[in-house]
Amino acid sequence: MDNIIEVNSLVKHYPIKAGVFQKVVGHVKSVDGVSFSIPRGKTFGLVGESGCGKTTIGRTLLRLTEPTSGEAILNGQDIFKMSKKELRAIRPKVQMIFQDPYASLDPRMPVGEIIGEAVREHKIVSKAEYRDYILKIMDDCGLRPYYVDRYPHEFSGGQRQRICIARALALNPSLIIADEPVSALDVSIQAQVINLLRDLQEKRNLSYLFISHDLSVVEYISDVVGVMYLGNLVEMASKEELFKRPMHPYSKALLSAVPIPNPDVKMNRTILKGDIPSPANPPEGCKFHTRCPECMEICKKKRPEFKDYGNNHQVACHLYEKTK
């Protein structure tokens, strides 16, 4: 299959330092061996609760934080092994959209400059075409041409997010990492941004890594979905598979936790007990066993393997290993 990026056993441990001499006393296992690939022109949705490491994955793929180990193959090259210079050359190919549209735009730059800065940096278009190019990108993102000279403080959250999208798009990327791009927006604006992302994908054959905690949005926009818990993927399958036939108890619980806007549906909800354990000190065995409603003896001792149970439906759970 034609994959835009292949991530293999990505690990990111943050050292916990203590004492005068900053001795390393432990590690926060933010991402603990994650592998996935994103098909060209498709969207990979990454779901999980806060602290599960989904944001860290997005940042390491851009090398905004350096990974501890693992590889990420983009166009046959490992991003993690690139030198600074090589990295800069491929930067335009992978772009990012951030969650907070208020923090992700430099308040002292006009919109045109925000979008165009990197275009000039990488000489995406010639000087003569520059202005038209920026205006075209802005138009594609639903921004009026006269916004060019305005400053970010004049825009609402939704428009700011459009500016962020335009900035990413202007570099003509093939992969966009969108880290919770709509969760800070109002409901009616969320839909606009999601639709914009979808339209752009169709038009430009973009691939997305869509990181979100909002399952209904992920279901709507993704083709393949991975569910993360405490630094590991616990389940990964095509959207249809995962949402129709979730296998991992955690995925099931996540799905049933989403409130349905229909007063007649009284859901039989699986409510998980307790809180997410600290990633600095994850439980032994299966990391989910402390909250799992179907926990068995083996779960407390042995970590389940991430296996394919047909239909490209991969799960890490002892429940299914037994039956096979």
């Binding site: 109002d186 409901v187 604006i189 209904s216 409130p259 349905i260 806007p261 007063p263 809180d275």
Partner: protein, 377 residues
Amino acid sequence: MAELTEKQEKKAKMKEIKKTNALMYKKFNQEKKRKNIPESEYITTMRDTDNIIELDNLKTYFYTDAGTVKAVDGVSFDIPKGKTIGVVGESGCGKSVTSLSIMRLLQGPQGQIAGGKIRYNQDNRAIDLTKISNKEMQKIRGNEISMIFQEPMTSLNPIFTIGDQLSEPIELHNPEMSKEQVKNRVIELLKLVGIARAEGIIHNYPHELSGGMKQRVVIAMALSCSPRLIIADEPTTALDVTIQAQILDLLRDLKDKINASIMLITHDLGVVAEMADYVVVMYAGRVVEQGTVKEIFHDPKHPYTIGLMKSRPVLNEEIGRLYSIPGNVPNPIGMPSHCFFKNRCEKCIEKCAGDYPELISVTDTHKVSCHLYQKET
């Protein structure tokens, strides 16, 4: 020349704004200073004695330097006893300001209740919360009406233990209770909100608890004096999905146990559908639609409500393209005289350019403010 007059006009306008602001601040301060307000001024009668709160044409304005922001502009709805009412809307629609008006916690001197009534049904009398003295309000606040805020992290004081924070309101409103009794009550409350090791937790500090636990403590705090109305302002927005499910489950459970009304403020339609009996949809400071939860979700009338419902993808439901309401949430200063939603409305008709539509009753409980449903007269 034209520019000059424009400048002058602007200056005059600024002056005007300043003048009205100063006037309003003065009036507000005078009202605040009054200590003994005769009963006759605030005693009213409820329209329906089954209601705990009746908002009647409530107007809450913010007198800012840029002009008057009509955050709540003539909102009327009732909160029946023992029921849950969901207030839905986007940021800046006035849903939080409505709740702060009920609690009389508006940021002075800019924010003031400019008109209307908030009738509150006490045991044997009905009073107007907009008129009573601050001292009187203090007795009601936290005791009869309590509030749950969005951020559990910021609504707990980091330097006191959970036990201290919970016992404070109990001691304050029940001076006759002994220390032992207060402690027992605290533990009872913590058990009520589903904290198993209540005896242990009272000695903990807020930072030692997780987000979900903190929100439970905040809820316990709101329940501490057996309030008659609980205002929950986005109680689950800051929480993770699985924790949100826990909290919602808890709230639903409590609803039956404590016999209080709940005013649930949220932007999440899913939460409303699960929790509420009645729904009020607000847009730009006004109620655009209200009704029972079934009426609103099965038969939404206002184009804004319809748009809101369609713009959220629903789990396990195939949809082609997501519907989206065009345009932006409007700027709250200098609103037009026509329907506020006109510029974003796809069903806009000729009449919409005219006056603001009145609230029209579709059924006894279902009301909508839209020209589309105006009966021809």
